[in-house]
Assembly symmetry: C2
Homo-oligomer: 216 residues x 2
Amino acid sequence: MEDKKVSKSVLKRLPGYLAYLKNIPENAPPHISATALANALGMGEVQVRKDLAMVSDGGRPKIGYLRESLIDDIEQFLGYDNTTDAVLIGAGKLGQALMGYGGFDEYGLNILAAFDADPKTDKTEEGKPIYNITKLAHFCRTHKVLMGIITVPAEAAQEVADQLIAGGIKAIWNFAPAHLDVPPNILVQNENMATSLAVLSVHLQAQIKEEKEVKK
Amino acid sequence: MEDKKVSKSVLKRLPGYLAYLKNIPENAPPHISATALANALGMGEVQVRKDLAMVSDGGRPKIGYLRESLIDDIEQFLGYDNTTDAVLIGAGKLGQALMGYGGFDEYGLNILAAFDADPKTDKTEEGKPIYNITKLAHFCRTHKVLMGIITVPAEAAQEVADQLIAGGIKAIWNFAPAHLDVPPNILVQNENMATSLAVLSVHLQAQIKEEKEVKK
DNA sequence: GGGGAATCGATATGCTATAATCGATACAAT
DNA sequence: ATTGTATCGATTATAGCATATCGATTCCCC
């Protein structure tokens, strides 16, 4: 079941399954059916089965999937079993909040250090070092860091991205509301709140309009 | 150009156009072509034209779209021109970071107040009130709030969502890594970092593997 | 041991989104 | 004025994804 080409949409659903599976109490039955998963997460049972088929080696009819091994399979597939090192650039409020969030270990992510153009202190609350941004590329190369997390203002984002790439980074997690121009082999994952807000805003407008229609 | 049914994917691209358009200096030519936009943002020119056709009343051949009116059209379509009130639940690190982010005004979003199960203080740094969560539903009803932002731990998310809905809310921005069960007319927009991490993690694994292959 | 129920896996269908093509339009230059 | 070129807008094709259907498998109960 490994080495299959998995579409992004499947990938984005896998963490949902994983979280739900991990939340099931220990004393519950050791098996779970795709139907049950689908109902719990509000999706089609066929899709769940298809997704699980990508990463696991199958369940058994009338029984379902073994919870424990399913969790292992997904985690292994997502690479949560071996840690990747990352650096964070931009020690503002958002950057500090991310550094303070301890839950990343669970996903195999380890933030080594933060960088800032104008560091206020030399350590975060958690004791991680904060360096001047001039040392970014060199740090990445010497520590073989593969992932960069950008939490700087939009204007500075492209420049930071360029330096990250110069440092040999392969993936960028971009929290800045800006489009990044990068070579094709570099992956940019945009965590853009503006897009989410757009979806919400349009939905609300539609709701308001609907209410007015009803009143008429 | 109004009242068209617009797919979510289009919706998510619109903020990108908007941000880029707003960043163009004042003294630049007042028109911009779909081709130029496409190149700048790294997408197909056809898609850009199609997207713009949904919200604007058209550009002119050889000239392009009038920047100013294009910005207006997009903002109006996204509802950024009239503000919507929101409440935030969970005054932890992430919640505080969001409250402190001033840029939401630009998107027509106004966070009225924060709620917490155990408020440490009664005001945020910015002077917004923090209430006990028991007052949530009542507050939403009396202030006709339509949007709730959830930044509580996963365990508490569903309960908070239920109270928001009881308070008459129509849209939820969910930062908790949990699936929310809601009635069909309520929109839940999940801002789940786990999904982004999954995409990044899998990409990195593939990269590492590729490198090993080359070395062989 | 046999029938029934539940579940999995695979195949087939339909839909939506993206990409490609083509004609129409409007400005500019000669 | 006429030709050339850049750009838009509509139509068509392709592909990816989600959904539905069907047969096969396995367990439980009688």
